[in-house]
Amino acid sequence: MSDSIVAVICDHQCSSKGPLQAANLTKRLANTTTVDKLIVLDKACQDPEKKLQRVAGKKILFAGCPYLEESGFYTLAAEKLGLKPGEMLVTDIKSSILDLYDDADVIEENLIGRLESLSRLLADSVALKDRPVKLKRSVLIFGSGYSGLKAALELSGGKLSVDLVETEDPPLAPGCLAEGLRSPNLIEELTERVRTSEDVAVFPETAMGPIRSVEQGFTVSFNGGEAREYGSVIFAPERTEAPAEEIGSWNLTQAYKRIHEHQPIKGRIVFVLDRRSETPPEVIQDILTAAKVIKERTNAEVWILLKQLRVALPGLQELYDLTREMGVIFVKYRNLRLQNEFGDFNITGEDPQTGALFRISNPDRVIIPGPGGLGASALKAAETLGLRLLGEQYTQPYSLWRLANESNHPGVLVCGSARGNMDGDGVAADAASMVQALKARMTPEGITPVEHVASVDAEKCVYCLTCVRLCPYHAMVKNIEDRVAQPITTACQGCGICAAECPAEAITLRNLSQESVLAAMQAL
């Protein structure tokens, strides 16, 4: 691979601003130093394979609109040209250039600045040659809900074998899984595939023997049999209220605590009661009382969303009437969706009686009662493996890596799916993204470090442990022998917090060193 850099940009023929002019750009780029050649592709998104033939053998800086990424142009390029991370860089120039600035001159100038800047980064970067860290070939999954089943199927069938543990006994019995999922056929199909899979074994929790931590993994024996050795564990816990913190949710205890401590509660308070007949009257009484107290003491608008539940249970009629008179809003719902896609949090649903749609935007608090969390055996496993259970802090699919990494067991993952703030389809979508994140890194070959993995310059490191204390993934550890900090490369997520905090400037992110970043910023 030559060190020279080719910038490949799309001419944006499709843009209303008019296409980029290759001649102008080339002229302007002549003054810069790092880009050797500029190739402007005529409508790069059309017939990409043919166009790629023109750009082989060099580091390439691609610039095009987001559609190129969506259409797989870059993946194709990497594959066709054999480019590894560090040998190519992609920048989205529709959003940042064409639409950002008004006139052609400015666009061109900024585009050149950007190409110059990023080419500096690319010039300094190195291709990734990391070998994946090998793991034990077996995976243990706790929970046979949607995400548990999906993860089992996705991971098995290759070189990995999967054991699945379920609290319900017998496991995989119909009706006990993925309650609320609106595609029962899907879950039945998944269950059937797991049941018939040769690579997935299913055990009830009661069959589990003690968990023992061993190097690079742990062992479990089932029914007193031989100890099976695992490199990875996946937790797919049942419905839990904890992750709902992300949208500002409380459980009842928290709500009571705030009320008791006279903490201000304002805005809209929404109670979601989506469980059915098994919801005990005490819980309903609790919610009605909480609603009453909040209403009495605050200016909050209080909503109680009910599914099939009859509130007017014997003995609660009076309380129900009272809260209704106080202005608490009761809505029965169907198709409830809790969405937090873009910072705005919306609750939408449909009234089953009238068919009317309702929408609550950005409620101050959502209170979701209900049990949940990891089962006893999963908790035991987590404890044995030294996992810190942070519950509600694991709010995003990819951040679930964090828990795994905190154990310093490179193969331990946590996959939480059934999140209390979502309806069935939300659960499925969430689980799917989780499984994708999981699959992307946990291949039969092992785990590969991320591109921007941190590295420590042992000469500069003063062993102050700032990075060890601050890494959100606990991916920085003490190297006792050499007395320096050392990253666990499979756990590092390349966020750069350690590098920013290092007082001795001893930490560098691969392909993103502070010097190259500064140089690139300068070139803008």
Binding site: G113, E341, G343, V517
Partner: protein, 130 residues
């Protein structure tokens, strides 16, 4: 670089917020430059100061909405560093240069645009008045 305003943004929520801003048709003047980092938690005082020193009239660190940082609290770390530098610049009587922290969610195109323009304007006029 001279007189430019550098926006250091993360490649997660903040990047999507910028994209949404342009999709919604809000444009930024040419002096704004953007630079993508893995997380605003990777911004430190050196990065802020070196850019100002090299002539940028302002540096805006654009992070994800609070509590939504992929890396737990990278955006909050950036916020504190920005605050420290802000104090330092003001106490040192530095003129015509500013640092600011902005949080944006991917659905806040207009708000982000307004905020960036307002900051640029305020930072600029503040520098001139002195």
């Amino acid at each position: 670089m001279a007189d430019s305003i550098l926006i250091m943004h993360c490649k997660e929520g903040a990047k999507r917020a910028l994209a949404r801003m342009t999709e919604e048709g809000y444009k930024l003047p040419a002096r704004f430059k953007t630079f993508e980092l893995p997380c605003t938690g990777s911004v430190n005082e050196v990065l802020l100061m070196e850019n100002l020193q090299n002539g940028a009239s302002g540096v805006i660190v654009l992070g994800c909405r609070k509590e939504n940082c992929k890396h737990m609290d990278g955006n909050l770390r950036a916020e504190r560093k920005v605050a420290r530098i802000k104090k330092m610049l003001s106490e040192a009587g530095v003129e015509g240069r500013f640092v600011e922290m902005v949080f944006a969610a991917p659905d806040e195109g207009k708000r982000l645009h307004d905020t960036l323009l307002r900051l640029a304007h305020a930072g600029h006029s503040e520098g001139k008045e002195k």
